[in-house]
């Protein structure tokens, strides 16, 4: 088996099952409200996939993914907000035609750096480029100096804290603690009705699969193997002639871009963007999605994001006063008892029973629901 086909058989089966769940089972079984909710969960799955690449494959644990998620979300929100802030819709303001929160903050002209977000094309590019550029700066500074592990985690966490304070503090330009709210249409198409939400769910799902396939391609490429090699024996990779830092920077940027796409889809589906999704707490929760799914498993990341968010919603509906206990216990259990998350459980318990099948060396198994 020297020629690798793009997907092993079990990966193909795993993808098909996931596709079946996301494209068929959810839309059939869930009402509009729940489907939209699951769409929101899936927008977190983008981050989790990026984290599997960075953390699971590359050993880089970022506690600042919320920042990238937020950057993507804010780019999208800025575009939508500008579209919603027509002079007619904002006639009541002292300066019609600018977003309402700017008007409340005595800003009388659209800031220059907001202007390009009138263009949808620019916005789409910005969703990728802005987080990637930011990730590049952080990554370049840190990986070139071989900062890794704990220190990297803590510094990214501080960056998440700074981002939140900055967004909240600069409310004339960012909407402050409220965020950018009351988003209505995308290129004239109303994103609020149930029908639109369903469409957005599918767009989100398709993009998610796109991300998944890209991530798999990266993992399948020699790049992916170099990442694994770096995790096992970084010095050996270095002395095999690789510039380890540039690999880390690249994968960190990829993770950031994936998070940003998720953020943009989050904005579209939820209808606003706010700093509560940028800070430390959501960033750590994103890591938890990834850990619960299995830090090495791309498809596990999707299941992890779905499961944790679903549990959060359900627990908080059924036992609102107790759900933090459940969530906390889940974190601890995953770390202590199932370090490989759902994917690990699948590998250990479910897969052996499927051995009746033809055996294939799978790297990304899909956990059971």
């Amino acid at each position: 088996m020297t020629k690798t086909s793009f997907l092993t058989r079990s990966e193909a089966v795993g993808l098909a099952i996931l596709a079946l769940i996301i494209f068929v089972a959810f839309p059939v079984m869930l009402d509009d409200f729940r489907l939209n909710l699951f769409g929101k969960y899936l927008s977190y799955a983008f981050v989790a996939i990026g984290l599997v690449l960075c953390w699971g494959a590359g050993g880089i644990l970022s506690l600042g993914q919320g920042v990238f998620f937020g950057l993507g979300g804010y780019c999208m929100a800025m575009f939508l907000k500008l579209e919603a802030s027509t002079p007619e819709a904002t006639a009541i303001q002292s300066t019609p035609g600018i977003p309402d929160f700017m008007d409340w903050n005595q800003i009388s002209a659209l800031p220059i750096w907001w202007q390009p977000f009138n263009s949808f094309a620019f916005t789409l590019i910005a969703i990728f480029v802005v987080p990637a550029a930011f990730a590049f700066v952080i990554g370049y500074a840190m990986f070139r100096r071989r900062v890794s592990g704990v220190y990297f985690a803590i510094i990214t966490q501080a960056i998440a804290a700074i981002a939140t304070i900055l967004i909240v503090g600069q409310q004339g330009y960012t909407g402050g603690v409220n965020g950018i709210t009351d988003l209505r249409t995308l290129m004239g198409w109303d994103i609020r009705p149930d029908g639109a939400k369903t469409v957005l769910y599918f767009v989100n799902a398709i993009l998610l699969f796109g991300c998944l396939v890209v991530a798999m391609a990266i993992r399948k490429s020699k790049f992916g193997r170099v990442l694994v090699a770096m995790r096992d024996a970084e010095d050996r990779v270095r002395f095999s002639g690789y510039d380890v830092a540039s690999f880390k920077i690249f994968i960190f940027c990829v993770g950031a871009m994936m998070a940003a796409v998720g953020g943009a889809m989050f904005t579209l589906q939820v209808g606003f963007m706010s700093p509560t999704i940028v800070g430390i707490v959501p960033s750590i929760e994103m890591v938890i999605f990834c850990a619960v799914g299995g830090r090495h498993s791309l498809m596990g990341a999707v299941y992890g994001a779905l499961l944790v968010n679903w549990a959060k919603t359900t627990f908080s509906e059924s036992f609102p006063e107790l759900w933090l206990f459940g969530l906390g216990a889940l974190f601890i259990a995953v770390v202590m008892a199932f370090p490989n998350g759902l994917a690990g459980l699948f590998d250990d318990y479910i897969k052996p029973r499927l051995r009746g099948w033809r055996q294939t060396p799978a790297t990304a198994p899909q956990p059971a629901e």
Partner: protein, 421 residues
């Protein structure tokens, strides 16, 4: 909207208020005898709300976890009390209120999610909820899209008027202007130091305050400053205040920062009982004082519409009922009282409309009066805010406020004040 602003102060005489109050007060605490069978469900609920022949479901949506649970707990308690009292009287149109409580978890997207759940899944007839502006902004599109009714209890920055929200707290001008007028008139204050937590309500409120101070009072703002939410170190700003020697510190600090601010102010030797400078706040209710400690804020003035110490019959009954339900050590602040009004205002609107349909309730809402309100008497304005009096309280060491001033008339709500934007 422009014409609403020109509505003159309601010409309700004091006698009329008292009479109305007595009538309504009597009505509140005696079973009214509206029997469910007089209102067939299919007639009073044409939009598929969760209304049966015996029950009607109402949502409660506050943070019971996360940082905001500190503030929102009182609102939940007040709303539950009101609902229990309404049920004890026979409910609304003969139907018992059942509550579905959701946790917004201090997270705005979660608020939006839960609001959708309450409206779309549970089909609740109305929702009592939200505390921060951010959470309200997050749920607002949901309420507008699914035509729900939200009773929002917090004093807030204004700049909003939604057909789907009844604002039971004061908007900024209602709360701020009377207090500033009072402090200028009674205390001769001329220079002010504005201070706040860094988010929209303090910033907007201070903007209004600054305009009023500079344009109307002819005073001077000597400093304006914001600290991140949760900030706990105020020694630097206290030094700046010493340097500027304002007559008034106008403080809109919220949450945990409040405790830090007042403790440090006291420790720095600024004794508020000496009123040099005087401290005026719009953000510290009795609830907050519990965390701050009465001894640390004694002597400060607060400007809002309700204090637990209000001496009227409605309030005495309310305070007694609240303590009976939630414990003797409870205190009640402005927002808690406003939250208590929500279910009653809704009930009154439903019964006036003779229907649970949101459109009819909305139509019936303007003009609804509540003479039994603990704060005295309130009335829903066309713009969905309440007419209410504004009062200034003087903080005592025991954690209560002594009311030192109240406006003679109800203050008209004006969420889009001209000249203050």
């Amino acid at each position: 909207m422009a014409d609403q602003k020109k509505v003159p102060i309601s010409p309700i005489s004091r006698r009329a208020i008292l009479a109305g109050g007595a009538a309504l007060g009597a009505s509140l605490f005696l079973p009214k005898g509206l029997r469910a069978q007089d209102f067939p469900t299919d007639q009073i609920n044409t939009t598929g709300l969760a209304v049966t022949d015996d029950t009607v479901q109402v949502g409660i949506l506050h943070s019971i976890s996360g940082t905001m649970s500190i503030s929102e707990t009182g609102s939940v308690q007040a709303e539950k009390l009101a609902i229990e009292q309404i049920n004890a009287q026979g409910g609304v149109l003969g139907r018992k209120i059942e509550t579905i409580q959701e946790d917004g978890a201090s997270d705005w997207p979660t608020f939006a999610e839960k609001a959708r759940k309450l409206l779309v899944n549970d089909k609740v007839a109305s929702v009592m909820g939200c505390w921060t502006s951010a959470s309200r902004k997050a749920v607002l599109p949901v309420f507008e899209q699914h035509n729900g009714m939200l009773y929002y209890p917090t004093f807030y920055e204004g700049l909003e008027e939604s057909p789907n929200v009844i604002y039971t707290g004061q908007e900024a001008t209602q709360q701020i202007i009377a207090g500033l007028d009072w402090v200028a008139r009674e205390k001769g204050a001329e220079s002010f130091y504005l201070l706040g937590s860094d988010y929209i309500w303090p910033r907007t409120s201070n903007k209004i305050a600054r305009k009023h101070i500079e344009d109307k009072l002819g005073g001077k703002v000597v400093g304006e400053e914001y600290y991140p939410l949760g900030h706990t170190q105020f020694n630097s700003v206290i030094n700046k205040i010493r340097l500027k020697k304002p007559d008034v510190i106008y403080a809109i600090v919220v949450g945990g920062s409040n405790v830090a601010f007042y403790k440090q102010l006291k420790a720095a030797g600024i004794d508020m009982t000496e009123e040099a400078p005087l401290l005026l706040t719009i953000s510290v209710t009795e609830d907050e004082i519990r965390g701050i400690g009465g001894e640390n804020i004694e002597g400060a003035y607060a400007c809002m519409k309700y204090f637990q110490s209000l001496e009227n019959e409605n309030n005495q009954e309310f305070v007694a009922a609240f303590k009976e339900m939630w414990g003797d050590d409870m205190v009640i602040g402005d927002v808690t009282q406003a939250a208590y009004l929500g279910p009653w205002l809704w009930k009154a609107a439903v019964e006036k409309a003779g229907s649970f349909d949101v459109d009819k309730v909305r139509e019936a809402s303007p003009g609804i009066e509540l003479a039994s309100a603990p704060e005295g008497y309130v009335k829903i304005h066309e713009n969905h805010h309440l007419w209410s009096k504004t009062r200034v309280g003087h903080a005592l060491a025991d954690g209560q406020y002594e009311v030192v001033f109240e406006t003679a008339d109800l203050v008209e709500p004006d969420p889009f004040p001209e000249g203050y934007q």
